[in-house]
């Protein structure tokens, strides 16, 4: 295994809604990922992916998104809560790949205006990620009352989130390294 190859951990912004506060959360988490030595990242905004909606699954695969998922060692998914679930367009994007995700780590960041920090949307998302072949970590980041967490300029007002994101990323990076070793070195029975 080439230990010098950086980990690649893109951050997926999982909503296209106008005025989305999740964008602030996604940019913050991506900036924190980028601070880690030996880790590269990108912010993938699903509103920028040109996926058609007259087909589904791998039939709408976008070459650029597929290439990033193939390269990825782990994913951070930033998902607001829509009526106790996650966004339909996030599912549409996630379903466009499958083989690219196998034995890779995933962590979820929930966002909501209410007190639960997107936790109900995260719970809905977990079995989907499992079926896609991703390995979810046991840390989440929950942005509750997100309208109070970020200023209108998008800057973080409540710096206690930095510590939570740090714990989340430490676990995600450990899982990403472990699964990379497994994918590259540990043979299936």
């Amino acid at each position: 295994m080439d230990g010098n190859r950086p980990l690649y951990i893109p951050v997926i912004l999982g909503t296209v809604r106008k005025g989305r506060m999740s964008e602030h959360a996604a940019k913050l988490v991506a900036a924190e990922v980028a601070k880690r030595p030996g880790v590269e990242t990108d912010l993938i905004d699903i509103s920028r992916l040109p996926l058609p909606i007259d087909d589904a699954g791998e039939g709408v695969k976008d070459a650029g998104y597929s290439k990033k998922m193939n390269r990825a060692d782990a994913l951070v998914i930033v998902s607001p809560e829509y009526n106790h679930g996650y966004s339909g367009l996030l599912k549409h994007v996630l379903d466009s790949c499958l083989k690219e995700y196998i034995h890779k780590a995933a962590g979820v960041v929930g966002v909501s205006a209410g007190p639960f920090g997107g936790s109900r949307g995260i719970q809905d998302l977990l079995p989907v990620l499992r079926e896609l072949g991703l390995v979810t970590i046991f840390w989440d980041v929950n942005f509750s009352s997100v309208q109070n967490v970020f200023g209108e300029d998008g800057l973080l007002k409540d710096t206690s989130y930095i510590r939570r994101i740090d714990k989340f990323l430490k676990e995600l990076i450990w899982m990403a390294k472990t699964l990379r070793y497994g994918r590259e070195q540990v043979a299936a029975e």
Binding site: M1, D2, R5, G57, E58, G59, N70, R71, D73, L98, K99, E100, I102, H103, G133, R180, G182, R183, E184, Q185, V186, A187, A188
Partner: protein, 63 residues
Amino acid sequence: MTQQKRNPMICPTCRMVMNYHADKLIAPTTREEFARMHRVLGGVVEEMHTCPGCGGGASRPSE
């Protein structure tokens, strides 16, 4: 002898033997996949391989 031992996948980028690390059951969506559907497992089994050199991934149908 397994397909991996008989016919290991070679990385198209760096020509190394790839590591076969998973079988994934995939729900069939095309006529060709329905024809290959495993009756007991209920889907198409795909082998997942990763290159220890460059980290690239590839897959192929399981025999």
